[in-house]
């Protein structure tokens, strides 16, 4: 039949070019990371020191977890600006629960994570049911979470008891190569989050609908997918990851710092974009996001070692974001 020859031709060439381009994109972000590492290690002998690598790991963890979470809403074609301040709010909740609520540390952690999920649920509901655009809804949540953090903490940092072991969650070391490098637990948590996130995105119903929402929401709706419901779930999941990030940052600082948080959302979105996830939705990967998070922290760290002023670090980070997206657009156009 005619259809046979017709489809064969198109599927053959299209598939080949697709494989090529997807592979290209993964290589691009990864290659950028490798090039940065090579350049910095050539420029400064301090860069590849174990202490410094540990530092990079530790500073990637929080941004990485936030970025993994926000990858989900970005793949749906949405955005979440509230992840940074929600993270802080969750840290405050955990600190309050443990220091004043008298609950055990695991319960406090659970409380923090669930708080994040709740904030995400509210975001999702406002966006999905009340039809407020994601940008506006989550911008609102950014301020709400920031305000609530300050109110609850009475404008002061809340410190965990020394010796409570809470900080080990982030700065402790379970995995290490003795005498060579100690891998901080925080980054293990991030890798764990990445594995779970990647699994959800590629293998579960939620992941499939995340892509479907970003690719053609109306088509998904007409196909009988409860798009409103799944959108809420996606925002809830992103909030849950923010909660996890809140716990990790609290553990790392052994305190909840209520004034922190704003600006973190932009670092996370930058990591997602550098990792090749399209802001218009439908495409993206957790792997790319993790690479993107490392690109940002390696860049910041390397420039600091070379004593480049912080202002210039920002300028360069900005340029890299634009170049990354430009290369991605260029790939797509071909």
């Amino acid at each position: 039949m005619q259809t046979g020859t017709l489809s064969h031709e198109t599927s053959g060439t299209a598939a080949r070019s697709l494989v090529r381009s997807e592979a290209l994109q993964r290589i691009l972000a990864f290659a950028a990371l490798v090039i940065l590492i090579v350049l910095f290690s050539l420029a400064s002998p301090n860069f590849l020191q174990a202490r410094n690598i540990e530092g990079i790991f530790l500073s990637t963890a929080v941004n990485g977890i936030l970025a993994i979470g926000v990858t989900f809403v970005i793949v749906t074609g949405g955005i979440d600006l509230s992840i940074g301040t929600v993270m802080t709010f969750c840290a405050v909740i955990t600190a309050k629960l443990v220091t004043e609520g008298g609950v055990s540390i695991p319960v406090g952690i659970l409380g923090g994570i669930l708080t994040g999920a709740l904030a995400g649920y509210v975001n999702g509901t406002v966006i999905s049911r009340m039809r407020v655009p994601p940008f506006v809804a989550t911008l609102g949540m950014l301020y709400i979470a920031k305000g609530l953090s300050l109110i609850l903490s009475e404008l002061a940092p809340i410190y965990f008891e020394r010796g409570s072991g809470f900080t080990d969650l982030a700065t402790g070391v379970i995995v290490s190569i003795p005498g060579v490098i100690d891998i901080p637990n925080a980054v293990l948590i991030m890798f764990g989050a990445a594995l779970i996130g990647s699994f959800i995105l590629s293998r579960t119903l939620l992941g499939r609908y995340t892509f479907a929402l970003g690719s053609n929401e109306e088509a998904a709706r007409i196909s009988g997918v409860n798009t409103a419901f799944w959108k809420i779930i996606v925002y809830t999941l992103t909030g849950l990851f923010s909660g996890l990030a809140g716990v990790v940052i609290a553990a790392r600082l052994n305190s909840a710092q209520p004034s922190l948080g704003q600006g973190y959302e932009l670092d996370a979105i930058a990591a997602v974009v550098i990792g090749g996830t399209s802001l218009s939705g439908g495409e993206g990967s957790i792997f790319g996001t993790v690479i993107g998070a490392f690109v940002i922290s390696v860049l910041t760290n390397g420039l600091r070692i070379l004593s480049v002023p912080q202002e210039w670090q920002m300028v360069l980070t900005g340029a890299i974001i634009i170049v990354a997206v430009f290369l991605d657009m260029f790939r797509r156009r071909r």
């Binding site: 259809t3 046979g4 489809s7 198109t10 598939a15 293998r203 119903l205 088509a219 196909s223 439908g282």
Partner: protein, 513 residues
């Protein structure tokens, strides 16, 4: 009474107090192709969207095999075996063929929420092979042609064990060969006992494919006819509620020998090769050819929308350089895209602003403030002159019918004082009644000294409207005909010439070796 697969009775539906369907009825038998026709805005899509659960009816009853059913969303329609294949295909381009087919009811592992990708692909493969479709289930849908995407939609419909399939303008974006393929598929499905509703503007297709025709007009049911016992003229006259004459109208004899536009040496890679032609004042110059012959590309190159390797342009005998559509407008050239909604109109804005869009600077006060009143007045004049049907100039363009939207685009270019108008498929997606009005308007414009290039894939339209016809094939101009000597056969000869030459030279090469 016959055993109806679907019966719809007394269906009412209105949007914002505008009635789209009034007391409509529709009956579908198993194993028939039932065409549903009517002008744009006649309510046929609305009626079918109610059946498919996209819209909810305000009143009326729907029976499926004699049982009254409540269809409250697309999902419940699908569960009842009713699927609609929408004009704008409802697929997710980033997902694979198999993922698209099973969206909303993915095969799962025993663990909740975990997808069984293997089973998804396997089952997709089975259904595809039942339909004799050689598609790779793992192929991303975005990389497929429109025709194949449509096949994916049909496959999806069948995977629901659908008994009722509604197709909304399925052939709008297909080539002749692909239409044949689709018709084979429709016949096969019909013979298996499926009831198929076929919405289309193309009368020849309806005559060929359908068993019965139901005509709607102004949101009302008019009549159902047996296709073999009726004629196209009869159907059309029911649609428009008056008899229209398809006879060849007189072309305005106002064209002068004055050359207003001269295009020379237009080249771009392998897409456009050595294109040369000229346009005279008051002339309608038809551009004929098959899909992908390069006609739209020529138009876009002239107005500077796409870059080209070489081009020499003369307007009124003077050489000009056009680097962007803005330059083109300043030189009095307007391009009316075939895709009005994407390139021609800002559908979310009102009629007045759309009319003024290409000439906003005319409506600025000295302080740079836009004079909305003046825009509205100008728009009003054009509404009257072009007989645009709209409640007011403040109506959003989205809410106008296709024919009226096209008139708004024309008004926009008239407002910008363009003398050369390039129409790309001016009547695509426009119903029969509005078509003849657009034709009348084109003649009118030519009579008033505008020069018109009309790109069209419909040969009757080209023959009826053009003073002179240029035929393209594979990026080259292969022939030029005057209206007196042109016939469908001659045009098709030129339109297919190039590939034959290639074939011949290839054969010649082979024989020498």
């Amino acid at each position: 009474m016959a055993d109806y697969l679907v019966q719809m009775q007394g269906i009412d539906k209105s949007f914002d107090n505008v009635a789209a369907c009034v007391n409509c009825q529709f009956e579908l038998l198993a194993g028939e192709v039932h065409a549903l026709v009517g002008e744009n805005g006649a309510g046929k899509s609305t009626l079918m969207k109610i059946l498919a659960g996209v819209y909810r009816k305000d009143a009326g009853q729907i029976f499926l095999r004699g049982q009254e059913v409540d269809i409250h969303n697309p999902h419940s329609a699908q569960m009842l075996g009713i699927t609609m294949i929408h004009q704008e295909l409802n697929l997710m381009p980033h997902l694979t063929v198999a993922q698209n087919i099973f969206i909303g009811r993915e095969p799962r592992h025993s663990i909740p929420f975990l997808l069984d990708e293997l089973a998804t692909n396997q089952r997709a493969k089975e259904i595809l092979s039942q339909l004799h479709l050689n598609l790779n289930p793992k192929q991303r849908v975005g990389g497929l042609s429109v025709a194949l995407q449509q096949m994916v939609e049909i496959t999806k419909a069948l995977s629901y064990n659908s008994q009722v399939m509604i197709m909304d303008e399925p052939t709008a974006a297909l080539t002749e060969a692909e239409i044949e393929e689709l018709f084979h598929m429709i016949h096969r499905l019909r013979d298996q006992g499926m009831g198929i509703v076929y919405i289309s503007h193309r009368m020849e297709e309806i005559k060929r494919i359908s068993d019965r025709v139901t005509v709607m007009r102004d949101g009302r049911y008019i009549e159902t006819l047996l296709t073999p016992e009726t004629t196209i003229d009869r159907v059309i006259s029911l649609m428009v509620g008056r008899t229209i004459y398809e006879s060849k109208p007189e072309l305005p004899d106002t064209k002068s020998a004055e050359v207003v536009l001269e295009v020379k040496n237009l080249n771009r890679g392998r897409e456009l090769r050595d294109v040369n032609f000229h346009l005279e004042r008051g002339e309608i110059l038809g551009f004929a050819g098959l899909m992908g012959a390069g006609r739209t590309e020529v138009a876009r190159a002239i107005v500077g929308a796409d870059p080209c390797d070489t081009i020499e342009l003369k307007i009124m005998g003077k050489p000009v350089t056009i680097r962007s559509p803005k330059d083109a407008v300043q030189h009095g050239i307007g391009y009316l895209s075939e895709d009005r909604k994407r390139f021609g109109l800002v559908v979310g804005m009102d009629l007045a602003n759309n009319v003024g869009m290409a000439s906003m600077t005319k409506f600025l006060s000295t302080l740079g403030i836009i004079n909305d009143k003046k825009i509205a007045e100008t728009a009003n004049d054009h509404v009257d002159a072009l007989a645009i049907k709209t409640p007011s100039v403040h109506q959003r363009v989205r809410n106008l019918s296709g024919g009226n939207q096209q008139k708004v685009v024309i008004a926009k270019w008239l407002c910008a004082d363009t003398d050369i108008l390039i129409f790309d498929e001016p009547t695509r997606g426009i119903d029969v009644g509005a078509k003849s009005e657009i034709y009348r308007l084109l003649n009118e414009l030519a009579r008033h000294g505008k020069s018109i290039i009309m790109i069209s894939s419909e040969l009757p339209e080209i023959l009826r409207m053009s003073h002179r016809i240029i035929v393209m094939c594979e990026g080259r101009i292969t022939g030029e005909l005057t209206s007196a000597e042109a016939t469908q056969e001659k045009i098709m000869q030129f339109a297919t010439q190039r590939s034959e030459l290639v074939e011949k030279s290839r054969e010649a090469n082979l024989s020498t070796h």
